[in-house]
Subunit: 241 residues, 2 copies
């Protein structure tokens, strides 16, 4: 069944107004008729079965019938991702959303190239990924920020897994040893070309970081993001429950 | 430095003839001049520093100077990937190559849709991925085969990690408990829509399979392939050494 994210509140009988693009998608692409059902979530009220109750010139109206799944939220893990080229950034956002990341924070590091970031496009990719893979909320995607500034204002209660291509602890052993289930985390992925020696030194000296290795092969930044988030979910997140 | 895969034997002084496309890439895209160096690997003789020794109408000639890295080979792990749509298949091949898969075997399962597979295109993606991420060999990519036939002729010495979206053992615990380092493995990823109940029952009954769960969220087939291969490398492969 079609799944849509809408920002409106969901309750029995509520009338929902999708965007014009969503309306066109429902009636012109998916050819829905009056009375056909779709699933709707808004990130707060769970997943609702809704039916197409009106087709107007300015879009369709959906009527919320019943909640079919309660709201859930994944573990508290952020992805701090150095800004990389467009296709890799989009890929990382799509896959990190599937893997349940709560917050995506694009980072400017010493070796970040000046790639332009279209946040509206990244948001749209996250929404589509959440819609298609059954997720009940959306990740928040921030404006780019400087890594140095972010580390300066870091909440020390949040652990930072730092993927160090020059070598760190074997990741499964490192994470399993922490037994840190339930604690907030973040995962930091460097740009093509890696972190500068100064950045690496600073990161390793911080009390909340865990340096891990992602194996003996070179991984592209987007692949490293997916691999690191997978390992985190499997070892510390909600995969083992 | 530019890295190229060439099928020719590599030894000191050997003259190498890249394809016309590769020659154009070197001289027209990357603007290399006579005497400029590139890295070349062929999957057998390690990585060699070569210099551009001739620019002819029908392409360039490279001269092998010295081996800079010895040949290495990753763990013996195959990816059995149900055929999915083109973009997901290409993505899975690119990322599985980065993650060190040795053999990619496209599978036809009960719920596989009739997607056309361009093996030449998948080979080209694997080569580019190996070139760009420093890998010393290429994965072999097979023609599609029926899952039922492949299981029929299975070598029982090779373990099969079967990613079961209806639930399996938590993957890190399951793999770590096996302590199976060094043994040949394969990872099986189902199509959109998953395995049929009959396929699942058969897979679970086979003595060489380990059913694992990839967490509580729905993953697309390509994401599942990357996640499963990552976890396998981290828990049983060469990431912990």
């Amino acid at each position: 069944m079609i799944r849509l994210h809408l920002p409106q509140p969901l309750s029995a009988g509520a009338a929902l107004v999708p965007s014009l693009d969503q309306s066109r998608y429902l009636t012109q692409v998916m050819r829905l008729k009056l009375g056909d059902a779709v699933l709707v979530f808004n990130g707060q009220d769970g997943e609702w079965r809704c039916v197409l109750s009106d087709i107007l010139k300015k879009g369709v109206v959906l009527k919320a019938e019943a909640q079919v799944r309660p709201q859930t939220i994944g573990p508290d893990v952020h992805l701090l991702m150095a800004v990389v080229k467009k296709s890799a950034m989009e890929f990382a956002v799509e896959k990190a959303t599937e893997l349940g990341v709560r917050h995506i924070r694009p980072m400017l590091t010493a070796r970040t190239q000046g790639h332009h970031l279209r946040l509206d496009r990244l948001d749209a990719i996250a929404i589509e990924s959440a819609e298609q893979t059954g997720r009940m909320d959306l990740p928040v995607i921030d404006d780019p920020a400087k890594l140095a500034d972010v580390l300066e204002g870091w909440d020390p209660g949040r652990r930072l897994m730092f993927c160090d291509e020059t070598g760190g602890a074997p990741v499964v052993k490192a994470l399993s040893a922490l037994e840190d289930s339930g604690r907030p985390w973040a995962i930091l992925i460097g740009p093509e070309g890696g972190f500068s020696p100064q950045e690496r030194e600073r990161l390793r000296a911080l009390p909340f970081t865990t340096a891990v290795s992602l194996g003996p092969r070179v991984l592209r930044a987007d692949t490293a993001a997916v691999a690191a988030l997978t390992l985190w979910q499997a070892a510390v997140g909600d995969w083992e429950r």
